[in-house]
């Protein structure tokens, strides 16, 4: 059996689609673990069974709940969404069962009965192929990596699990919502990022205007955040800054140092705007335009504004 869990619904569906391929090749079943609500949907998303626990998900209660289900069902594989929540609970469950865990797996395959995963290491410039030595085989799956596959005609079974969590020790005193500009750059779908091609701090508004056309996040290279301090480090994209995986990454006036490229490698599409035709960013992008950002960015913003 394959267990699938993410507290983020979209991520659950994406993992279910990938789990379906693994399950079909080995004729095993998929159980989606649900903490309250949304049950029928997971069947359409690819689950055979929904194990439904009707409590509020918190890190402690989810570790406890999934661990009890592992004891009961003895799954071969446990796939967890690689959100911050998932990246905490997966290794905790792993330690409890004396099992390994592979974080942010971008590819899954089978070798006989073992599960083979691939993940990026050493600053995203290398790909590691790994296999599991113990069960359950635990892997986390990054959001937006796989396409969901919804089929409303799928049939499945919902099993209600009675579960009394051990008392959680953490006392949550307050939660504050983030303003849109505080959203972590790792979660952005579109990032408009700027580097040393920018001449002065005031010109950031050109970049911001472009980002605002589609509610994108603003990113920057190391020099803008660390050396010039024109933007806080929250915006710093790169290996020692923030590693990002948007659908669309637009690099403006960024030459493309190794450290920066390593931080954007998981992006689906990379677009570069740079006046130096020999800038390394043009060897690391999908689409590039050679030209002065002060000419291109305002024109691009105008055109996009009219279209959206």
């Amino acid at each position: 059996m394959i267990f699938v869990f993410s507290e983020d619904n979209e991520t659950s569906f994406e993992i279910l689609a990938e789990a379906r391929k693994l399950a079909d090749s080995s004729k095993s079943k998929i159980a989606a673990i649900s903490f309250g609500g949304g049950e029928d949907d997971y069947i359409a998303g690819g689950a055979d069974i929904i194990l439904s626990i009707n409590i509020e998900p918190h890190e402690d209660s989810v570790v406890e709940g999934i661990s009890q289900l592992i004891d009961q069902y003895n799954p071969e594989i446990l796939l967890i969404g690689s959100t911050k929540f998932g990246r905490e609970v997966a290794p905790r469950i792993g330690q409890r069962f004396g099992a390994g865990c592979a974080t942010d797996c971008i590819d899954f395959s089978k070798d006989n009965e073992n599960l083979i995963v691939k993940r990026l290491v050493l600053g995203g410039r290398f790909i590691a192929t790994q296999r599991f030595l113990r069960k359950p085989r635990i892997a986390t799956v990054p959001p937006r990596r796989f396409e969901k596959n919804i089929d409303k005609s799928r049939k499945g079974e919902i099993i209600k699990i009675s579960f009394y969590p051990a008392e959680t020790r953490v006392q949550v005193m307050e939660t504050k919502k983030k303003a849109p500009q505080e959203m972590r750059i790792e979660e952005a779908n579109i990032i408009v990022s700027v580097g040393r091609g920018l001449k002065k701090k005031e010109d950031l508004k050109l970049i911001e205007a472009l980002a605002n056309v589609f509610g994108g996040a603003m990113g920057c290279s190391r020099s803008i955040a660390v050396d010039l301090k024109w933007l806080p480090e929250e915006h710093w994209v790169g290996l020692s800054g923030h590693k990002v995986n948007p659908r669309l990454y637009i690099a403006i006036g960024i030459s493309g140092q190794v450290q920066h490229i390593a931080g954007i490698r998981d992006s689906r599409t990379i677009i570069a705007i740079n006046k130096d035709p020999n800038a390394p960013i043009f060897k690391a992008c999908d689409y590039g335009i050679v030209g002065d950002l002060y000419d291109i960015v305002p024109r691009l913003t105008e055109i996009l504004k009219k279209q959206s």
């Binding site: 990246r87 865990c101 974080t103 050493l122 600053g123 790909i127 983030k178």
Partner: protein, 236 residues
Amino acid sequence: MTVEIIVCLKQIYDLAQIKIDTSKRPATEGIAKKLSDFDKNALEEAVRIKEKHGGNVSAVIKGTKDAAKEALSMGADEAIVYNVDTDSLGTAYILAGVIQNMKYDLILCGEASIDEYSFQTGPRLGHALGIPVLTYARKIEMQDGDVVVERDLEKGYEIAKEKLPALVTVTKEINEPRIPTLMQILGASKKKITEMSPFKPDAGVETLSILAIEMKRKEVIIKDVEDLAKVIMAER
């Protein structure tokens, strides 16, 4: 109250210097090593807590004696080093084995190492020691016997309180790690370094290969801004 703090750190290769050899594997010979970035944030925070409340900072480091000297220069009072390669499961076993014989109120780790980016060591170690874990802290306050942290989560910040002893992982935003002065570097040579050679524990994951990624980007050059806009509309 004074606070006994343990910081877990990992020494890693300077990733930007890693080259690719002829068989596409990472070439690491002769490359400088340093403490991983976010682990330094954890150490800096430990030193700041000690400066405010008093106490002791012990660094437990996977790496060489040079890494121990780096941590001592940054303000750790003593360092324990070991150099056994294993996965996150094995690392947690080793750290728990070392730490269970030490006195501590608070354990700090970086949220992840920047070579592996696995985010596992902190949560696993907390479980192995049977103490609570608070991840992704961007602020830490000590309040008579409790630790209060502001956790930086996807959709918001969560302020959470926990009884000591507890383990906290920190984000890079929590502070700016100090660059040691010459005096601090010289002073560090008087501090105690303990070298340990733990048994290699069972690992949970085996790495079969590490190979350079072939960049499969399209590298299409566009001449016209209108066309660029079309591409963006299609790809967004």
